[in-house]
């Protein structure tokens, strides 16, 4: 089952606490998830901790599912970081700022696991 969502990214305290410790497992844990409300997770057939593949016109990334009842239906949140940026919009609309919020995305359950930080960055070096 695939669902369509509006993807935003942003700061969290855990992500911020690992700003200067991005090689640590704590940073991976703080950034590699996508928050949806329980109703959306149910529509996906996903439970917390399942792997989700997020696809946008700019790329795809695998992160873990997490529930957040504060999200309205169809709003997906991934903490700012290299995982979110694999799928966010590079278009600045001529004002310098990329599209970090409001990117149409498709979300589905997958068997793949999220890449660790170094493996994710290695992909750029191999491109």
């Amino acid at each position: 089952m695939k669902i369509k969502a509006n993807l935003i990214s942003g700061r969290t305290a855990d992500q911020g606490a690992h700003l200067e410790a991005k090689t640590h497992k704590g940073y991976f844990d703080a950034c590699t998830y996508c928050e949806l409300n329980s109703a959306d997770l149910k529509r996906l057939g996903a439970s917390e901790g399942d792997s989700l593949k997020i696809t946008t016109e700019f790329g795809e990334v695998v992160v873990f599912a997490k529930a957040n009842e504060g999200n309205p239906d169809g709003l997906a949140f991934i903490p700012m970081g290299p995982w979110a940026n694999a799928v966010l919009s590079p278009d600045t609309h001529g004002c310098g700022m990329p599209g970090f919020k409001g990117v149409p995305a498709e979300i589905e359950v997958t068997d793949e696991k999220p890449l660790d930080m170094k493996s994710l960055m290695k992909k750029y070096m191999e491109d």
Partner: protein, 434 residues
């Protein structure tokens, strides 16, 4: 044992200057008053990975080299580049920023700050309409209506509400939280929204519409508002406008929800007009919730040295500024830079994939205390001292108040300022040789 009081926390734009640090054997063993972000930086630095030595990428792997070798390799990259991007300079001192601007001028580079992915649109809005502002001290002492719009200080600026806004007690706000109204406007119920007297949930990307609706009502044209606007029922918007007009001192704190969503700089531009309208009825100001502790300082130094706050292109021999063209992301997406020098910031983590892909292709010099995703792309890596812990320097708080950061412990690492100056000396030497 040394106890240092009133140390300045060099993490976020709140720049809390009441931190007590205990130092034993040149190690920080205790920290008081800091939030989770500050604590992990100050205490965590003993546990985190550091970049221990200068490195150069050889056969795909970063290998240790001497400081002199790294400076020489970096200088060669800069001298051989026809279009260098200098980026970051926000988790460092104003003194380092000043040296970086001089290096950018001498090498004909473009220099940009992390505002490019943060409050850059706020700077554009200020240039279009102005930015009616106040110090955080004024907010603490006077503001009876605090609005957090598209920002989440519980996570991003954890002590902001206690020190400067919602919960703080001041001269005319002696009742603290009880005497203030706190409203949150956001697209999802954040932890900050849970603490508010009123939470207004809007459709993602409709900030400009709501600001415009509020302006219409405040200017006496409430009749044009449809029954639901920006996902909010009209009655709720009318009530919000009334609350704004009837407050004694309004402060709208705004964040990435405003600058990164659709309409980008036009959102803060309209908000500035809203503040202007409100000032016909009461006192109102707006303050951007700045992220990196000295991103405000970069803007200050760059403005007084070049006339522009960010995205400054020296290719013509004089400062040229057009953020949609000379901003770091636009340059990288156009695949224009043929080299980059990155300090005190992490575009590897915080730029979208297309920009990162170009960074991976070109020679990258990184100056930073810590390894991060940018290190994975870098060709020359130079470790630096942590400003505010291992080096002193000046930083500007989100309300553009300058504070002097203290040196708390000794270090073997050079400061960003020293590294940039060494690099500039080497660049001049190579150019003379040519």
């Amino acid at each position: 044992m040394l106890v240092i009081k009133d140390a300045v926390c060099s993490l976020c734009g709140s720049l809390c200057d009441d931190i007590t640090v205990t130092v034993e054997d040149n190690k920080i063993t205790k920290i008081e008053n800091a939030c989770i972000l500050g604590r992990s930086k100050f205490v965590g630095m003993l546990e985190h990975d550091r970049i221990e030595t200068p490195m150069i990428r050889k056969d795909g792997k970063l290998a240790p080299v001497s400081y002199e070798e790294a400076i020489e390799a970096a200088a060669k990259i800069l001298v051989n580049s026809r279009r260098t991007l200098s980026y970051g300079w926000c988790s460092t001192s104003c003194e380092a920023v000043s040296a970086a601007i001089q290096l950018a001028e001498e090498t004909g580079s473009v220099i940009d700050s992390t505002a490019n992915v943060c409050h850059g649109p706020t700077a554009l809005a200020a240039q279009e309409k102005g930015s009616p502002s106040a110090t955080l001290g004024e907010i603490k002492n006077r503001a009876d209506l605090i609005i957090f719009w598209g920002c989440n200080p519980v996570h991003a600026h954890p002590r902001h509400m206690v020190r400067y806004s919602s919960f703080s007690k001041g001269l005319f706000t002696e009742k603290g939280r009880k005497g203030r109204t706190m409203i949150v406007v956001d697209v999802r119920k954040t932890d900050t929204a849970k603490l508010a007297d009123k939470y207004v949930e809007i459709d993602q990307g409709s900030d400009l519409i709501l600001v415009t609706a509020l302006r219409s009502i405040i200017n006496g044209h409430g009749d044009v508002i449809p029954e639901v606007i920006a996902g909010v029922p009209k009655a709720e918007v009318l009530e919000l406008a009334e609350t704004l007009k009837n407050a004694k001192f309004v402060c709208i704190f705004f964040g990435m929800g405003v600058t990164q969503s659709r309409s980008k700089y036009k959102n803060a531009d309209a908000m500035s007009s809203l503040i202007s309208d409100l000032n016909q009825h009461t006192k109102a100001v707006m303050i951007g919730m700045r992220g990196h502790y000295n991103v405000t300082g970069f803007g200050q130094v760059a403005t007084w040295e070049t006339g522009f706050p960010m995205a400054i292109d020296f290719a013509r021999g004089y400062p040229y500024y057009n953020p949609g063209e000379t901003g770091a992301n636009d340059l990288l997406v156009r695949e224009e830079p043929d080299a980059a020098i990155i300090a005190a910031a992490d575009p590897g983590a915080h730029f979208p994939q297309k920009a990162v892909r170009h960074l991976a292709r070109i020679p990258v010099i990184q100056i930073d205390p810590y390894p991060n995703p940018t290190t994975e792309l870098a060709d020359v890596v130079i470790p630096s001292a942590i400003v505010g812990i291992e080096a002193e320097g000046t930083a500007y708080r989100m309300d553009a108040i300058s504070l002097r950061m203290k040196k708390l412990i000794d270090t073997k690492f050079k400061t960003d300022e020293e590294i940039v100056k060494d690099l500039a000396t080497k660049v001049r030497e190579l150019k003379r040789g040519a």
